[in-house]
């Protein structure tokens, strides 16, 4: 395998970046046409597999349509991952601009005048404004779809989703093409059309791997998919990992053969890292800091929360420079000739680390005082009998906002504990550890925390 892996990698790195995905699929289709590229609906009775041979044929079919019609651009509107992969691979090799747009960002495609549409049937069709020819270039105000190679919608964690332009270089910049990553099995719990999701399936299919897509995000379904498909790499948000650890059948957890967990999308806390090491001894845990706009900025591999304090103010290998604003907002400069970007993420120095305290937009203001929901959540999660917690601001005519929390109880509850005793313990713990304005004034028990399509806990205030 190692010599074939070396051969695969050298042939792949020889081709232009935009062509790489299609080339990787072709190489596998020629050498191992029946090998599984994608497992869909994993962990359920509807499980189905797509072999590299079939995937390569689908790429070719799309390419023929693109070559014949030369659309100005293609909006990929698939719900099925194999159709999405075929579209992205084909557009790359045919040099057709591409927009990968998630379900909830469909209204943004109005900006993509005269782009063609490809859905699950992989038949090129006209969009609402018809198909424009590649030749007619017209500059748009919001961005320039004529020169954009790949357009991805942001997750909207911190505002309404928006379209962001990327090049093939930036889309593939984080993919690791080395033997160490060859032929592995990856779990995709992210939305395949979002930045985080594209990074997972691109990495899997560029390295002769298998992509495993669970039928749902329910913890037991995800756990079954990991066990049944021998998944070795689990990319997830801390929220999704926490749910897996606290809610999946423990018998399934012990059967997992995970080698690596890559966390991203939200800040990771020390408690979760400790629980992860306890559940999966020896697993490597990496925390990736990335945004849709910037791509991957840095990764932390030492298994600790936050990042080393000495990284701040220094140019890191790769050219990234991190600084903070006076209020603790993290600023990122990707390289010397790019502008500094405010990330909206707040960091705070704790001993030899900078740890994430939350997003600037998540801050709850109670009577003029700031409350960082993450800090309150960390304290709640430390209470015996509490599996998970979400803290949010409730609008109040008197104090502006009020701190409220949703709590998921551990199952089973600790011996002798009742929901009422846990509620009382949670309030006492918060009163001891927090200022009065930071202590939750409403504690509700919920079965599950609401998780958005990006696998994160939504933060915006909600009333009751």
């Amino acid at each position: 395998m190692s010599s074939s892996a070396t051969d695969f990698l050298s042939r792949l790195t020889d081709v232009p970046v935009a062509t790489r995905l299609a080339a990787a699929i072709d190489l596998m289709a020629q050498a191992f046409p029946t090998r599984t590229a994608i497992v869909e609906q994993a962990g359920s009775d509807q499980r189905r597999t797509i072999a590299y041979g079939l995937l390569a044929a689908n790429v070719k079919a799309v390419e023929q349509q693109l070559a014949a019609q030369r659309p100005r651009g293609v909006v990929a509107r698939q719900r099925e991952i194999d159709a999405l992969v075929a579209t992205v691979a084909a557009c790359g090799r045919q040099q057709v601009p591409l927009a990968v747009v998630a379900d909830d960002s469909r209204d943004l495609v109005g900006a993509l005048q005269n782009w063609a549409v490809l859905d699950d049937g992989l038949q090129l069709s006209a969009g609402p404004t018809g198909i424009g020819s590649h030749a007619e270039h017209r500059r748009e105000e919001a961005f320039d779809p004529a020169s954009a190679q790949v357009v991805v919608a942001t997750s909207g964690t911190s505002g309404p989703p928006k379209l962001v332009e990327h090049s093939w270089d930036s889309l593939l910049a984080a993919a690791r093409l080395s033997e160490q990553w060859h032929g592995l099995s990856w779990l995709l719990v992210y939305d395949a059309t979002r930045w985080a999701g594209t990074q997972v399936w691109l990495q899997a299919l560029l390295t002769a791997g298998t992509l495993v897509v669970p039928a749902s995000r329910a913890p037991d379904c995800v756990a079954r998919a990991i066990v049944e498909e021998d998944v070795s790499i689990l990319p997830a948000t801390p929220t999704l990992l926490r749910r897996l650890l606290t809610s999946a059948e423990s018998g399934l957890l012990s059967k997992m053969k995970l080698e690596r967990i890559t966390l991203g999308g939200e800040a990771t806390d020390a408690q979760l890292l400790a629980k992860t090491q306890a559940a999966f001894p020896g697993v490597k845990v990496t925390h990736v800091y990335a945004t849709t706009e910037l791509g991957e900025v840095f990764r932390v591999t030492d298994g600790r929360a936050g990042f080393p304090a000495e990284w701040l103010g220094k140019t890191l290998p790769g050219g990234v420079r991190l600084t903070t604003r006076r209020d603790g907002e993290l600023l990122v400069q990707l390289s010397r000739d790019t502008a500094e970007v405010a990330t909206g993420d707040l960091v705070e120095r704790r001993n030899d680390r900078y740890e994430f305290t939350g997003r600037r937009s998540d801050v709850i203001v109670v009577g003029g005082a700031k409350v960082y929901p993450r800090r309150v959540e960390d304290i709640l999660r430390g209470v015996s009998g509490i599996a998970d917690a979400r803290v949010y601001g409730l609008p109040s005519a008197i104090t502006g906002e009020l701190v409220a929390a949703q709590i998921v109880l551990a199952d089973p509850l600790p011996a002798e504990a009742t929901p009422e005793s846990i509620r009382a313990a949670a309030l006492t713990t918060c009163r001891t550890a927090l200022e009065p304005h930071s202590t939750p004034r409403l504690l509700d028990f919920v079965k599950h925390l609401m998780v958005n399509t990006s696998g994160k806990i939504p933060r915006h205030s909600s009333r009751l």
Partner: protein, 98 residues
């Protein structure tokens, strides 16, 4: 004074006292919210949210009324809900931010 509203207000205030680790005490309509019962603005904000859940009504969000001016006693609070829940309250501007 509406007895069931007084009960609801009393229950909300007792929950606030309980949740914040204070002991239960008598809550009568002539008691001053701040100096007799010891409620601060956070306590009051919590009581309002609890009452909204109980009564499906938040008089503080009915634009046009300026309820904070006359809210010194438990009875003031009850009167406020009485007004907001009475049929004539329909003449108030509708609640906008649901």
């Amino acid at each position: 004074m509406n007895a069931s509203l007084l009960l609801a207000v009393r229950k909300a205030i007792l929950t606030v006292l309980h949740d914040t680790g204070r002991s239960a005490q008598a809550v009568e309509s002539d008691h001053l919210l701040a100096s007799d019962i010891g409620l601060d603005s956070l306590d009051l904000a919590q009581a309002i949210v609890l009452l909204e859940r109980e009564l499906a009504c938040d008089p503080f969000r009915s634009a046009g009324s300026s309820p904070t001016l006359r809210m010194r006693t438990v009875g003031d609070l009850v009167t406020l809900y009485e007004a907001a829940l009475s049929p004539t309250a329909a003449t108030l501007p509708p609640v906008l931010d649901h």
